[in-house]
Symmetry: C2
DNA sequence: TATTGTTATACTCTATAACTATA
DNA sequence: TATAGTTATAGAGTATAACAATA
């Protein structure tokens, strides 16, 4: 019953003028399409996640800390578009796993600095390798050009999420 | 609270200095990037959703029924990459709202046929217009070329989700 | 016996509101 | 009084396991 999507058309030079048959470039139509696509892939990614793996939120936080260095929970929440209490939970979970460490802010007694531990870095590396296996495999089956489109869109999706 | 001060930024600088737009077309790296982007946008979309609106799942189901016609819950679950019990819940919620109708399968007594009602079609149209306002506005702020990339990627994301 | 769908139950993730401690 | 973080609590969304009805 599932519809087979049309084969990817060549996009090299014709990006601006030739919209794919399914997805329109009109903002309103694209919006509806994109929402469903993102929602569906999100669900699929979650179900493909290994049992022992970090949650999406935990993984994202660890990535951010690894990338940008120690940060306060508030800054993390802001960065991940999460509410502070949700971030507290995520950080505490990571702390209990020994993957991050909480320490006092040098000058502001209210703040907390969260930093990734060595175990966290190792876990991040391992998790990245293991749990993205499914998606990595599927991406490998695409053409390099399709992957280029996705790489570019990944950045655009972030910009959209940045509100 | 733990006392040791974190080493300020020994991990921060070394990780990624290349501009994200060429971030990487390597499947493994792209996989990690894409997962975080999709996850973050999904969260943002959910939080931007209007109070009275349909949930993502409800919206998607209504869209599918509108697009492909009546379908069994099993087929819907398959299409949306959901488990049957989850789909039962979604369909029942829509049924209680009067947006879909359940009827017997003509030949197979086990199956149920779910079809969208007129109220469902109207609600779909209205919801689409109202709740995608935020995303539509943000998409409108992009260049036509960026939108073309996203339109193309939307299709690719679906193919990825289709497992 | 296999398949379709449902019920019962539980878990994960996130949010809001109220509270504590510091500035 | 304002800000950073936490605790308590609730809600949405999805999953697994067990069950009923039909093929």
């Amino acid at each position: 019953m599932r519809s087979s999507l049309p084969p990817a058309a060549d996009v090299a030079g014709a990006v601006e003028t030739a919209p794919p048959s399914v997805s329109s470039c009109r903002p309103a139509t694209l919006s509806a399409e994109l929402r469903i696509s993102v929602s569906r892939l999100h669900r699929q990614l979650r179900s493909q996640r290994g049992e022992a793996d970090l949650s999406d939120g935990q993984y994202a936080v660890l990535s951010v800390l690894d990338k940008f260095g120690p940060m306060s929970p508030g800054a993390l929440a802001d960065h991940e578009r999460m509410r502070p209490p949700s971030m507290t939970r995520t950080v505490n979970a990571l702390d209990e796993l020994g993957l991050v460490r909480k320490s006092e802010h040098p000058t502001d007694g209210r703040q907390v600095l969260v930093s990734v531990t060595e175990a966290g870095v190792a876990e991040l590396r391992e998790t990245r390798r293991r749990r993205d296996a499914w998606l990595t495999r599927r991406l490998g089956a695409l053409t390099a050009e399709d992957r280029a489109v996705l790489a570019r869109s990944s950045e655009l999706l972030r910009r959209l999420a940045a509100g």
